[in-house]
Symmetry: C2
Subunit: 353 residues, 2 copies
């Protein structure tokens, strides 16, 4: 299996080391071969190659079976012109590989739930999967820019019916494999694109009689994620709504640093990255939480390589580590012990059989 590593910026390199170590451990335990190559993206690529997404990186990713990405961005590149910003690297790789389905699981971990900003009873047992459209909408619609006199600016929210269909299908498939409940989020009382979205969801619903579908307006969903997050199972929504709601949801369970994500297309190729950002303020200090990256690696094994057992083993090793009370500085485990990135990784590997 060909795996491309894109460490990127900030803490990206440190967490990628953790992912590599875990991948090696799984390889020797299960007799797999993962061929890994590292490439540049984001600010790191701007510094070295004067572009956030070198051709070389795109080419390597196109030939890969899966990609692990650390994080991109940082204040160093904030003043850059639009085309030369670290985020362009991330948006570019998603788009050029056609990774249209972003899966963002939000799950409570027993030893962490007490650290949620929400009252424990509201989040205990919370288990949500957000399915976000990732290559359409306002992120990529043209026209996008200013009028010649600089007095007007426009961005465009554009979707084709088939773009909506394929992500809605992913939502239904995910719901079918979980508890059978799908919440589709839109702004159909205002946006034409949301009205087509809702239409497609209602059409597809006929193919999934086993799935219960509910429509929610995005403003209302933003409230209900807080007042009653356990009402949600799978949420499917367009790119920007998904960006906002998945970040909102990511802090509900008190464990942002733990959360993985997968960006997929239909053939199993995928890009996996933690939900947390590049955290430039703590980069290089050896204290970043590697678990979001490690759990992203587990998602890769499961979704891109069909290695369910290996993925489950990593997840078990992570849970065990927290239950033993070991955690990085960003987490809060009652009676636990704060350790650095390397020790955390070592403990996970020790916990693998």
């Amino acid at each position: 299996k060909q795996v491309i590593l894109l460490p990127g910026d900030g803490v990206g390199r440190e967490i990628m080391e953790g992912a590599k170590a875990v991948l090696n451990a799984i390889a020797s335990e299960y007799n797999h071969e993962f061929i890994v190559h590292e490439h540049a993206i984001g600010g790191d690529a701007i510094d070295r190659y004067d572009t956030p997404l070198p051709e070389d990186t795109v080419k390597a990713c196109k030939n890969a079976d899966a990609i692990l990405l650390g994080a991109v961005g940082g204040p160093k590149w904030d003043g850059m012109p639009a085309g030369k910003r670290p985020e362009k690297g991330l948006l570019g790789i998603r788009k050029s590989l056609g990774l249209f389905a972003n899966l963002r699981p939000v799950q409570g971990f027993g030893p962490l739930v007490h650290a949620s900003p929400l009252k424990t009873e509201l989040v205990d047992g919370c288990d949500i999967l957000i399915v976000r459209e990732l290559t359409g909408g306002l992120y990529f619609g043209k026209p996008s820019g200013r009028s010649a006199d600089g007095e007007e600016v426009v961005d465009t929210l554009r979707y084709t019916r088939s773009e909506i269909e394929r992500i809605v299908e992913k939502g239904f498939e995910a719901a079918r494999m979980r508890s059978g409940k799908l919440t589709s989020v839109d702004k159909a009382n205002v946006l034409e694109s949301s009205r087509m979205w809702r239409e497609v969801v209602d059409e597809k619903a006929k193919d999934y009689p086993d799935v219960t579908v509910e429509h929610q307006l995005v403003d209302s969903a933003a409230m209900k994620l807080i007042t009653n997050p356990k009402q949600f199972d799978v949420i499917v929504t367009e790119n920007l709504f998904g960006d906002i709601l998945s970040d909102e949801a990511s802090v509900l369970t008190g464990s942002l640093g733990m959360l993985p994500s997968a960006s997929l297309r239909t053939d199993g190729v995928g890009l996996y990255e933690p939900v947390h950002g590049s955290a430039p303020d703590i980069a290089g200090e050896g204290i970043v939480n590697p678990l979001g990256m490690i759990l992203s690696t587990a998602m890769m094994l499961k979704y891109s390589f069909g290695m369910e057992e290996e993925a489950a083993e990593i997840e078990r090793a992570v849970t065990e580590c927290l239950e033993d009370g070991y955690h990085t500085r960003d987490l809060d485990v009652k009676g636990g012990k704060v350790v650095g990135t390397d020790e955390m990784v070592k403990r996970i590997i020790d916990n693998l059989s």
Copy 2:
């Protein structure tokens, strides 16, 4: 003072009765004359006049000093074509009066704070004002619609520089009158419109050296509203982001049913409405919370009529009523007593001097 009442749908009529009663009480106490006229909007107007916003209503509102609105919408009209939906009435009146600045205060009320979904220490003392742009962006941008073959759909996020300038100024003005901190929310790492927004904020900042400005990305703001809401004082943002974030913020303090809003332009004319919706499920039962509407009326006295004292008196009467333990079913006051809409209104009026 000419005041137009637009009760609208669902519980709109009941809460409007409360507003009227309070307005009458204030009029006789302070010797003011409020000339009130009622007009149709939303689903009610669709039923009676086959349009969510009759010409007559627009004309009356254009001649008014202020407008009180109950709520619009309900499942009854959900199947209607885009042009004949209750929300079109609301969007239409905002747009045709040019009410570009939506003010949404989110405040904790002592007796209610324990009912917040968040841990008490996170929200106790929380006091945020969201300043949302209300007549631009994706809500009104053209083109908006489907391609001839129905295979593609588009919505347009459009702003002129002066539209951004005037709302950003409102944000700075509000921050100056409060604690001097302004958070501007955008998605400048992706959207061109957000980059112009950020530029305008940085320019205007020079005119307000007494205000501290911070930029946040909308996804990040959606997180921080939950993890640390007290870091915010005034938030200024564009229409759709403001819609999502203000609804998210509205549930933080456990008192959605209490929250008022104002939609203003520069000459003092404004439309005032509670944040909660039309709640068709409890309409007509005499149990809806009238306080959001009553506090919206207080905002009208303050912002449109410059009656600071009268507004403060209403606010004091509301606080007193809660401190006495009286509340409607939607609220949770420890050791309190649930009363109906009418009794709640009566108690508020009794609490006025």
